[in-house]
C-alpha cells in the first residue's frame, strides 16, 4: 500500500493547522512568514499531486494507489482513497490552482484600512489556513472511494468556504459590503447545506438498500461492481429517488440552473482568489461527483433522467450567458459565465458519450484554469481601482497593456477560442451531445456566440476606448501578479494544443463509467473505412 | 424482600430530583437536585451490579461520582461568579439567552 494519496491530502491539512497556529501579530514580517509557510505547503502539495499523476498508469485498473483505513467498522465505513483518471486530473488542477490563488491573494488578508473594517491579529493566518483546509478537503473528495468519506468532506468543505466568503471581501463593495458579504456567505451555506442534507438521506438510503441485499458497505468500487454484476439490484423507484438525492446536492454545488443563484453572490462578494476557489475548485466537486457517483451507482436512473437534466443544462448555458451579458458588475459577469460553462459540463456528463464525458472532464480542468486566469486578472484590475462596476473602467489597455492583454486572453479562453484549452473540451462536449441529441447540441452551439458577446463586451467596455480619468496612472501587472497569470496562460495554451496529456489519463476512466451505465457511443450512419485523417482519398 | 425495591427507590429519588430541578429557582438547590438525581442513578447502578454479579456497575457509579464532583466544582464556581455580578442566586434572573 502506498501512502502517496493520503500524504497528498494530509500535507495541506497539516499545513492548515500549522498556518493557523503560527504566532499572531500584525507586523509585516509575521505576515510574510505566514504566507511563506502556506505557499510552501501548497507547493509541496502540488509536488505530491504531480507525483500521483506520474505514478498513475492510464492503462492500469480504474482505481490506483489505493489506500484503506478502517474507520467505523460497524457501518462498513473505511477511509479509503484511490485515484482514477478523472480524480487525478482534478486533484492536479486543485493543487495547481491553490498556490496561484494564494499568490494572487497575497495582500487580500492584510489588515484592512482603518475605516471600520474587521481587524484581527489572526486575519492573515486565518485566511491562508482556510485556503489550505479547503484544498485538503477538496483533494479528499476527489480521491475518496468511500461514499461516506466523500459525503463527509463534501459537506465539511462548506465550513472553511463559509468563512472565506464571509470574512474576506475585495474591498470594492459599496458602503454595505459587509452586509452583502454575510448575505452571500449565508446564502452559499444554506443552499449547499440543503443539498447536502438531501444527499445524506440518500447516502443512508443507499446503505440500507445495499445492506438489505447483503452489500452493507460504503465502498464505491464494491457498490458499483455489485450493481454492474447484478448482485445488487435497486428497485427502479428507489433508485430514482436515491439518484435525485445525490444529484440535487451536486446540482446545487455545480451549480445547475435554477439552483445557481448563490454563485453570483458568493463570487461577487468574496475576494477574487476565493471566487476562483469556488468556481474552479469547489464547484468541480459537484460535477465530478455527478460523473462518479450518480452514473456509477444509479445507471438506470441516470439514463431515465438524462434528457431532463440535459434540458436544464441547456437552459443554464443560454440563460447564464444572457444574464452575463446584462451584468454591470465584473465579478458577477464572470460568475454567470461560469454558470453557462457548468451547463456545458453537466451536458457533457449526461449526454453519455465518450466524447461528451471526456470533454466534460477536460472542461472541468480547462474551465478551472481559464476562469482562474480571467477572474484573477479581473481581481487585479478591481484591486487597483476599488470598484467592481464595469462602467468605472475604460481605456485600461492604454495604461496597463499587459493587464489588458492577459485579461483578453482570459476572455478568449472563456469564449473557447480554438488553440486555447477550453475549445477542446467545449467542442468535445458539443460533439458528444450532438451525436445522441442533435437538437440539444445545436441549441447549445448558440452558447458560443453568446460567450463571444459577453467576453468581448466586457473587454471592450473596460479596456478599450478613451482612458477614463479614474483609470489614469493605473499600474501595470507587478511581478507577483505576472507570476500568477503566466502559468495559467501557459497551461491554457499547452492544453489547447496538446490535450493528449490529459485525455490519455481521462479516457479509460470515462470508458469505464460508460460501461457502468451500459452506454455505447452512437455509431455514425455511414462510417468511413479508416478514421485516420492522414489518408487522402 | 426483592432487591428490585432498591430500583424503585432509585426511580423515586430520581423523579424527585428532576422535579426539583424544574421547580426550585435557587441555583444551589437546583444543583443539589442534580446531585440527588446522580445519586439515584448510582443506587440503580449498584443494584444492577448486584443483579449481574459483576463489579462493572460499581465502577460506573464510581466514575459518576468523580464526574459529579467535577461538575459540582465547576457549577458552584459558576454560581459564585454569577452571584458576584448579578447579586442573585436565582436562575430566573439569568435569562440573557432569550432574544
Amino acid at each position: 500500500m502506498s501512502y502517496l494519496l493520503s500524504a497528498t491530502c494530509a500535507v495541506p491539512a497539516a499545513g492548515a493547522v500549522l498556518t493557523a497556529a503560527l504566532p499572531a501579530g500584525t507586523g509585516e514580517a509575521r505576515r510574510r512568514t505566514t504566507k511563506a509557510v502556506a505557499l510552501a505547503v501548497s507547493a509541496a502539495t502540488l509536488g505530491l499531486a504531480i507525483a500521483v499523476a506520474a505514478a498513475f498508469e492510464p492503462d492500469g485498473p480504474r482505481y490506483q494507489l489505493t489506500e484503506s483505513y478502517s474507520w467505523i467498522r460497524s457501518f462498513g465505513i473505511s477511509f479509503s482513497l484511490g485515484a482514477d483518471g478523472i480524480g487525478t486530473v482534478l486533484a492536479l488542477l486543485t493543487a495547481v490552482l491553490v498556490p496561484l490563488v494564494m499568490l494572487a491573494g497575497w495582500h487580500d488578508a492584510d489588515p484592512a484600512a482603518p475605516e471600520g473594517s474587521f481587524e484581527s491579529k489572526r486575519r492573515t493566518q486565518g485566511f491562508f489556513a482556510l485556503i489550505l483546509a479547503v484544498e485538503a478537503m477538496v483533494l479528499v473528495s476527489f480521491l475518496a472511494t468511500d461514499v461516506f468519506v466523500f459525503y463527509v468532506f463534501f459537506e465539511a468543505m462548506l465550513i472553511p468556504m463559509y468563512f472565506l466568503i464571509g470574512g474576506f471581501g475585495d474591498r470594492a463593495g459599496g458602503p454595505d459590503s459587509a452586509r452583502q458579504r454575510s448575505y452571500a456567505a449565508v446564502k452559499f451555506l444554506l443552499y449547499n447545506l440543503l443539498g447536502g442534507l438531501v444527499m445524506l438521506a440518500a447516502v443512508i438510503g443507499l446503505y440500507v438498500v445495499a445492506g438489505d441485499q447483503g452489500q452493507a458497505t460504503f465502498s464505491l468500487p464494491a457498490l458499483t461492481d455489485a450493481i454492474s454484476s447484478g448482485k445488487l439490484v435497486i428497485d427502479p423507484t428507489v433508485q430514482r429517488a436515491l439518484f435525485l438525492g445525490f444529484f440535487f446536492a451536486f446540482a446545487v454545488k455545480a451549480p445547475l440552473w435554477p439552483l445557481h443563484t448563490w454563485l453570483p453572490n458568493a463570487m461577487g462578494e468574496s475576494t477574487a482568489g476565493t471566487a476562483v476557489l469556488i468556481t474552479a475548485v469547489v464547484d468541480k466537486v459537484g460535477t465530478f461527483a455527478m460523473l462518479r457517483f450518480c452514473l456509477g451507482l444509479f445507471p438506470d436512473a441516470s439514463k431515465t433522467f438524462a434528457p431532463a437534466i440535459l434540458v436544464l443544462s441547456l437552459i443554464g448555458i443560454v440563460y447564464g450567458a444572457l444574464v452575463a451579458i446584462g451584468q454591470k458588475d465584473i465579478k458577477r459577469l464572470v460568475a454567470y459565465a461560469s454558470i453557462s460553462h457548468f451547463g456545458f459540463i453537466i451536458m457533457g456528463i449526461f449526454a453519455m458519450t465518450s466524447q461528451g464525458q471526456s470533454g466534460a472532464t477536460l472542461y472541468m480542468v480547462n474551465h478551472g484554469i481559464s476562469t482562474a486566469a480571467w477572474m484573477l486578472v479581473a481581481g487585479f484590475l478591481i484591486s487597483r481601482r476599488g470598484s467592481r462596476l464595469i462602467a468605472d473602467y475604460g481605456g485600461v489597455q492604454k495604461v496597463a497593456p499587459v493587464l489588458a492583454g492577459t485579461f483578453l486572453i482570459g476572455g478568449l479562453a472563456t469564449l473557447s477560442l480554438p488553440g486555447l484549452a477550453p475549445f477542446v473540451s467545449e467542442f468535445l462536449v458539443l460533439v458528444g451531445t450532438f451525436t445522441r441529441y442533435p437538437v440539444i447540441g445545436i441549441i447549445a452551439t448558440f452558447g458560443i456566440v453568446l460567450a463571444a458577446l459577453y467576453a468581448l463586451m466586457l473587454y471592450q467596455r473596460t479596456m478599450t476606448g478613451p482612458v477614463k480619468e479614474s483609470v489614469t496612472g493605473m499600474p501595470d501587472l507587478k511581478a507577483r501578479e505576472l507570476a500568477v497569470v503566466a502559468p495559467l496562460v501557459a497551461l491554457t495554451l499547452l492544453l489547447g494544443v496538446y490535450p493528449q496529456s490529459l485525455t490519455r489519463i481521462v479516457n479509460p476512466a470515462v470508458n469505464d463509467t460508460l460501461s457502468q451505465v451500459h452506454r455505447i457511443d452512437p455509431a455514425p450512419a455511414h462510417p468511413v473505412a479508416a478514421t485516420n485523417g492522414g489518408e487522402q482519398k | 424482600m426483592n432487591p428490585v425495591n432498591y430500583l424503585y427507590l432509585a426511580a423515586l429519588l430520581f423523579t424527585i430530583g428532576a422535579s426539583g430541578v424544574l421547580i426550585r429557582r435557587n441555583a444551589i438547590v437546583l444543583f443539589m437536585c442534580v446531585e440527588l438525581m446522580l445519586n439515584a442513578s448510582n443506587l440503580a447502578l449498584v443494584t444492577f451490579s448486584r443483579l449481574h454479579g459483576n463489579l462493572d456497575g460499581q465502577i460506573l457509579a464510581f466514575f459518576t461520582m468523580v464526574v459529579a464532583a467535577a461538575e459540582v466544582v465547576v457549577g458552584l464556581a459558576i454560581i459564585v461568579s454569577i452571584f458576584r455580578t448579578r447579586h442573585s442566586a436565582s436562575v430566573d434572573d439569568s435569562n440573557l439567552m432569550k432574544l
Partner: protein, 631 residues
C-alpha cells in the same frame, strides 16, 4: 521536403510569439523580424511549389501528419497538414501578398508607438491563415478559421482607444462567430454521419450519406462562409472593419481572410456537388451579395468603405462561381487570386493617399491628387482597371470566366445569374471610376484637419510604394498568365475537378458584352463626377442613395431584429434572476424567518423552561421505548 510544411506555419507563429512576448527591446527592429519571417514563409512556399511542380499531377498532394491532437475513442483529430494544388495557391497568395504588406506596414506604421505589437498580430494572422488553408481536417481548419477571426479582431481594434474601432472589432468577431457556429455544426454533423471530419474520409464517404444530411452539412458550411466572407446576411461587419489600419484592410479584409469562405466551399466541393439545393443557396447568396456590395460601394464617400463594398461584391462573384459547381470552382479561385492582387493594391493605394492627407478618408475632401502622388495614382489606376475588367488586365480574364460560367448554368437560372453578374460589372465600373475621379482628378477640396492644418500631400516612402508597384504588376499580368493555355485551370483540376460550361453564346460575345457594360459604367461615372465640380458636402440624395450610405439599412435591421430584442431579453433575464428565482428563494427564507420569529417566543431564556422541555423530551423517549418494547 514535406517537413517544410509545418515550418511554413511555424515561421510566422514564432514571429508572433517573439514580438508579443518579447519586451520593449524589440521595439526598434521587431517589424523587420516579422517581415523577414513572412518572407521566409513565402520562400518556403515557393520551394514547396517548385517541388510540387516537379511531380506529376496525381502525386502533387502531400500530407504531413504531426501528432494526434484530440484522441477520444472514435473522435480522432489530428494536427495534420495537407498541401495540394488548392492549398499551395493560397499559401503563395497569403505569404506573398502578406510579405508585401508587412513591408508596406513598416512605412505606414512607422510612427505608431505600438508598432511591434501590430507586426506581432500580422504574423499571428499569417500563421492562422496558413493553418486554415493547410489543414487536412475540418477541425484544424476551424482552428485557423477562428484564428484569423482573432487576428482580424485584434487588428481591426488595433487603435483601441477609438471607441468606434473597438466596437467594430467586437462586431466583426461576433458576426463571424455566428458563421463559426455554422462550421462547428457542420463538423458535428459530419462526425455523426461519417465518424470523421478529415477531408479525405469525409469526401470519400459523402456519396453514402442521404441527400438531406448532405444538404444540411453544405448549408452549415455556407453559413460559415457567409460569416467569414461577409456575404449576405452576415455581411454587416466588413464595412465597420475598415476602422483598422489600412494594411490590415488590404491583407485581411480584401486579399486573404475574407476569401476563406470561397476556399471552404471549393474545398468542400465533394459535398456541395452532391447537394444541389445547397448549391442553389450558394449561388443566390453570391448573386445577392454581388449586387448588394456594389450598390453600397457606389454610395460611400469614405474611400475605404467604398472599397469594402467592392470587396463584398467581388467575393459575391467568387461565391457565385463556387456555387456553380465544377464549372466554376477554378474560376472562383482564379478571381480570388487576381482580386487578391488588385484589391490589396487598391487598399494600399488608399492607405498611401490617407498617409499623405492627414488620415482623411472622405473622398469629397480629396481631389486633384494625381500630380502629388504619381506612383500611388498609377498603381491605383491599374488596380482599378483590373477590378472593373478593363480588357487584358487581370480582372478581365477572371471575371469574364465567371460571367461565362453563370450563363453556362443554363436555363432561366443561367440568365438571371448572368444578368446579375453583368449588372454588377456596370456598377463596379461606376463606383471605381467614381473613386478614381473623386480622389485623383478634379479641383482640390482639401479640408483642414482637427488641428486646423491643411494637408500637404506627398508621395509615400519607398517601403510603401514598392509593394504597391509589385501588386500593380500582379494586377496587370496575373490574369493573362493564368489564362494562357488554361494553366491555372489545369493545375487546379485534380482538386476541384472541372467541367466545361456551355454558355448559350460564344464566350467572345460575353467578353464584348462585359466590356460594353464596363464602359457604360465608366461613362456614367464620368458624366456624374468628372465634368462638374463635386460638392464637398454630400447631397442628400435619393432614397436609395441614403439607404446605401447606411449599408442598405443592414445595421438598422440587425439592430431592430437582433440587438434590441437581445438586450431586452438579457435585461429581462437579469431581472428574472434577481427578482424571480432569487426572489422566490429569498421569499422562502423570509417566510421561514417569520415562522421562526414566532417560534422563538418559546425560547424564554429561562433555564428551567429549557429543563422542562428536556425532561418532557426524556419522558416521551422513555414512554416510546417502553411502548415499543411492550408491543
Amino acid at each position: 521536403m514535406n517537413s517544410l510544411i509545418p515550418l511554413l506555419v511555424a515561421a510566422p507563429l514564432a514571429g508572433a510569439a517573439l514580438l508579443l512576448l518579447g519586451g520593449r527591446a524589440l521595439d526598434r527592429f521587431g517589424h523587420w523580424i516579422a517581415t523577414a519571417l513572412a518572407a521566409l514563409s513565402f520562400a518556403f512556399g515557393l520551394a514547396l511549389f517548385a517541388d510540387m511542380l516537379g511531380r506529376d499531377a496525381e502525386h502533387r498532394a502531400v500530407v504531413e501528419r504531426l501528432y494526434t491532437w484530440i484522441p477520444v475513442d472514435g473522435f480522432q483529430a489530428d494536427i495534420s497538414f495537407q498541401l495540394d494544388q488548392l492549398s499551395i495557391v493560397f499559401v503563395l497568395l497569403i505569404t506573398g501578398v502578406g510579405s508585401l504588406i508587412h513591408l508596406y506596414s513598416v512605412g505606414y506604421m512607422a510612427h505608431d508607438e505600438r508598432r511591434r505589437r501590430f507586426f506581432g498580430y500580422l504574423n499571428l494572422f499569417l500563421a492562422a491563415m496558413l493553418i486554415l488553408v493547410l489543414a487536412d481536417n475540418y477541425l484544424l481548419l476551424y482552428v485557423g478559421w477562428e484564428g484569423v477571426g482573432l487576428a482580424s479582431y485584434l487588428l481591426i481594434g488595433f487603435w483601441q482607444h477609438k471607441p468606434s474601432a473597438a466596437t467594430a472589432a467586437k462586431k466583426a468577431f461576433i458576426v463571424n462567430r455566428v458563421g463559426d457556429m455554422g462550421l462547428s455544426v457542420a463538423i458535428m454533423l459530419m462526425f455523426a454521419e461519417f465518424g470523421s471530419f478529415a477531408f479525405g474520409p469525409v469526401f470519400g464517404a459523402a456519396g453514402d450519406a442521404s441527400q438531406g444530411k448532405l444538404t444540411a452539412i453544405a448549408l452549415m458550411l455556407l453559413l460559415a462562409a457567409c460569416g467569414k466572407s461577409a456575404q449576405v446576411p452576415l455581411q454587416s461587419w466588413l464595412g465597420d472593419a475598415m476602422e483598422g489600419p489600412t494594411p490590415v484592410s488590404a491583407l485581411i479584409h480584401a486579399a486573404t481572410m475574407v476569401t476563406a469562405g470561397v476556399y471552404l466551399i471549393t474545398r468542400s466541393a465533394a459535398i456541395f456537388n452532391l447537394a444541389p439545393d445547397a448549391q442553389t443557396a450558394v449561388v443566390v447568396v453570391g448573386a445577392v451579395t454581388l449586387v448588394f456590395g456594389a450598390i453600397v460601394g457606389c454610395a460611400k464617400d469614405d474611400i475605404k468603405k467604398a472599397l469594402a463594398g467592392s470587396t463584398m461584391s467581388q467575393i459575391g462573384y467568387m461565391i457565385m462561381a463556387a456555387g456553380l459547381g465544377p464549372i466554376g470552382y477554378a474560376f472562383a479561385i482564379m478571381h480570388l487570386v487576381t482580386h487578391g492582387f488588385f484589391k490589396a493594391g487598391l487598399f494600399l493605394g488608399a492607405g498611401s493617399v490617407m498617409h499623405g492627407m492627414n488620415d482623411e478618408v472622405n473622398m469629397r475632401h480629396y481631389g486633384g491628387l494625381r500630380k502629388y502622388m504619381p506612383v500611388t495614382f498609377w498603381t491605383f489606376l491599374l488596380g482599378t482597371g483590373a477590378l472593373i475588367g478593363f480588357p487584358l488586365l487581370s480582372g478581365f480574364w477572371s471575371k469574364d470566366k465567371i460571367i461565362d460560367a453563370a450563363f453556362a448554368k443554363g436555363g432561366a437560372e443561367g440568365w438571371i445569374l448572368g444578368l446579375c453578374a453583368l449588372t454588377g460589372a456596370v456598377i463596379t465600373a461606376f463606383y471605381m471610376t467614381r473613386v478614381v475621379l473623386l480622389t485623383f482628378f478634379g479641383e482640390k477640396r482639401w479640408q483642414p484637419d482637427g488641428d486646423g492644418n491643411l494637408p500637404h500631400p506627398h508621395e509615400s516612402p519607398k517601403t510603401m510604394t514598392i509593394p504597391m508597384i509589385v501588386l500593380a504588376f500582379g494586377s496587370v499580368f496575373a490574369g493573362g498568365l493564368f489564362t494562357l493555355g488554361s494553366s491555372f485551370l489545369n493545375f487546379l483540376e485534380p482538386v476541384t475537378g472541372h467541367q466545361e460550361g456551355h454558355p448559350p453564346f460564344n464566350s467572345y460575345v460575353v467578353s464584348v458584352i462585359a466590356t460594353v457594360c464596363m464602359l457604360a459604367g465608366v461613362g456614367l461615372a464620368y458624366v456624374m463626377y468628372g465634368r462638374g465640380p463635386v460638392p464637398v458636402k454630400a447631397p442628400v440624395g435619393s432614397l436609395l442613395t441614403r439607404a446605401a450610405r447606411r449599408d442598405l439599412l443592414q445595421d438598422d435591421f440587425n439592430h431592430a431584429v437582433l440587438v434590441r430584442p437581445g438586450s431586452a431579453l438579457a435585461a429581462t433575464l437579469v431581472w428574472f434572476d434577481s427578482k424571480g428565482l432569487d426572489g422566490f428563494v429569498n421569499g422562502l427564507a423570509a417566510a421561514i424567518g417569520g415562522l421562526s420569529g414566532r417560534l422563538r417566543r418559546i425560547q424564554t431564556g429561562y433555564v428551567r423552561t429549557y429543563a422542562l422541555s428536556m425532561f418532557g423530551g426524556t419522558l416521551v423517549l422513555v414512554a416510546s421505548t417502553l411502548l415499543m418494547r411492550s408491543v
